[in-house]
Symmetry: C2
């Protein structure tokens, strides 16, 4: 049994995490939010109070923290008595925050792979570059670390485990499909930090095919899907975290990730990339100023948080799984549909932040009650998916299953 | 009679000017090149020597100069004995260089309108914002200042004057058409300084129609033309310097400028402009660095000078003039076609720099022999076009005329 949450980061996803922790503070205890910019933490706390999100009276505090400073994070964990750390800060701080958790015994949760500022999309499997090198360290210290427990990676890994446990004798392929069919009414915007968003797509596209790593270029392989609610959707094969753990943890020959992109996104991305404006390497202007082009692109783009009030439409994310059960071919789609407007009304964020921010809170609740407190480093598919999907059904991300003409809500009670 | 040339600037156009001055140093005398970066001047001089371009042994010297510093420019004019200054530096230095010429009595030539770094495309006529305010000053000092004597503006103004003097009793419209049908084999590049290139197109598009200033948006009005050598060409109505003097100096109701753009240019321009990356106003990155987006775009794009060795194909620039002569409707196209590869072989620059850099040298030769040494400020259409076009015929930019099925070289001997 663990309690008291430290949320690291104060962006759109942190806002969702804070609201959901507040709605469940009878289980989770005190809530602390820390970021380099304490004002952003305070704004989140104000929004939690405004929505009267705290289930019962309790602690909700803001802290200034540079999470690259391991000693400072250790001290804050000590001072707050946080036993669970939900890291939803920049992808560059994962390893130092994990170090602070290992040193203090706090459980560690994150939602995306660790990255180093000056490198992009390294050799697969990505988790082996940083995270998995520290498995022994976690096991020795008895520290629970659940990697990549947002929606994708995260919930889609649980869907894969569910399919593997309950629906198939043999899985031939898993296609993870992520489509945002919402509209933000801006000429162009990324839906989360532009720096992280573009970095996802500037490298090679790694997929797992015929039990081997396969490399393609971004926007090279296109596929249309007919999806529930959002309908016919254009997607492109994309590199994504979950392929890098599922391929190692499940016995499945083909695992691919498909992300929906509109023509506008493709045009903007292609121009910026080909001109060199997505580079993380500094250039020097004629005036002698040294500057990283990607950081200037980020500076001119809309703040993704500013999109939420006007965002309309739905996201649809799920796993299309093909294989065999009881000697018969089977194909099913396990998925969630979320609504931008509904998310904004509940927690003040759009559905992309919502789908990423709710799952780590469900995971924290399972660590709090002991059922996921495994005292080692795991990816989501290493854990029992049913209690996780059960909580998500209750707190805002219900799971559905489509098979042939059947399209039903799944119940995990 | 004037002699000895000071070239201000050391970019692609300055390179052409230096070579052409060297080829005519029997008329022009000593040649001096000055720029903030003296190494660029030396590299130009090296290339002049390499091509053995000096017609007769003579002075060819490089100087370091910040041309915004009027006193420094005056001192350099004094030290070198230059009586003709060809200003082909950045568009931001025109007024200070003109001041230095007025103070020393040297003749002044430039190839583009003066601009202030923090403003874009001001109210028409553009020349009235800076240049024409100083007409009296020039006349009082007896200083010859020929404004905009590149190709466009410049040669196209002479074509308009030629049409007006020799080919029409009444002109109804002048459409100036500028098409570069060359290929540089890069994914994207501007053909001259990206900062100046993009600034040309971020503001309103001013044209002169029905004897009134008319404003449109960039890429709003499109027109195809069937042109000599380069064939069918897509162009867009664009704002350009020469409309702002021709409209005031000739009695013509419609004067428009059309520039050729490929789909790639339009896409890149549209994305950069809509994202705010063409802004000349600074933005602040998340890290607190203040930076002008347009200067970062310039830093990532290819150096236009680097394109020349691989540039192939032709430019076609000219005036399509419609009106009446001897009671009959008349339509003719007065134009020049230049070849990128040929320009590179002769002077080490592509045809866009070549067409801009040869005309001011022809003008300098006419000031040297006294025929254009008018001791006041003028635009090109205020001068006799025949000796100018005659020299251009000899030194690399021959004039042709197409009328109906007839397409002939014009002779001004």
């Amino acid at each position: 049994m663990k309690k008291n949450i430290l949320i690291v980061g104060a962006g759109g996803v942190a806002q969702v995490v804070a609201h959901k922790c507040a709605q469940n503070n009878d289980v989770l205890g005190d809530i602390h939010i820390a970021s380099r910019t304490v004002e952003k933490c305070r704004a989140i706390n104000d929004s939690v109070h405004e929505k009267k999100a705290l289930k019962q009276p309790g602690v909700l505090e803001a802290h200034e923290l540079d999470a690259r400073d391991i000693e400072a994070t250790k001290a804050l964990i000590g001072r707050t008595g946080a036993q669970i750390v939900i890291n939803v800060g920049s992808a560059f701080i994962n390893m130092p925050v994990l170090s602070a958790c290992i040193a203090t015994g706090a459980a560690y949760l994150d939602t995306a792979i660790h990255e180093e500022p000056d490198k992009v999309c390294e050799t697969p499997p990505w988790y082996a570059n940083y995270e998995w090198k520290r498995r022994e360290e976690c096991e020795t210290a008895g520290v629970t670390a659940v990697l990549g427990v947002g929606f994708d990676p995260g919930v889609v890994n649980a869907y894969a485990a569910l399919a593997n446990n309950d629906y198939f004798d043999r899985i031939d392929s898993i296609d993870i499909i992520d489509v945002n069919a919402g509209s933000h009414n801006r000429w162009f915007s990324t839906n989360f930090d532009p720096e992280i968003n573009f970095r996802e797509f500037t490298g090679q596209v790694w997929s797992w095919q015929d039990r081997k790593w396969t490399s393609n270029r971004m926007f090279e392989i296109r596929k249309e899907w007919d999806l529930p609610v959002v309908g016919n959707s254009q997607t492109f094969m994309t590199g994504h975290d979950e392929i890098h753990s599922l391929s190692q943890n499940l016995d499945v020959p083909d695992i691919r990730f498909w992300m929906g992109f509109g023509e506008r996104y493709i045009t903007v991305f292609t121009v910026l990339k080909n001109l060199g404006l997505l580079s993380e390497q500094p250039v020097t202007t004629a005036e002698g100023l040294e500057v990283v082009p990607l950081k200037v692109v980020k500076a001119v783009l809309p703040d993704p948080a500013s999109l939420a009030p006007h965002y309309e439409g739905n996201t649809c994310i799920g796993d299309l799984v093909k294989g065999e059960k009881d000697g018969k071919e089977r194909e099913l789609f396990i998925y969630n549909v979320s609504d931008h407007k509904q998310a904004y009304e509940e927690v003040g964020s759009q559905a992309i932040s919502y789908t990423a921010g709710v799952p780590p809170v469900a995971a924290a609740m399972l660590i709090a009650d002991g059922s996921w407190d495994v005292k080692k480093m795991v990816n989501v598919e290493n854990l029992d998916p049913r209690p996780f999907l059960g909580i998500l059904n209750r707190i805002g991300l219900p799971t559905r299953l489509r098979e042939g003409d059947k399209d039903i809500a799944l119940d995990f009670a």
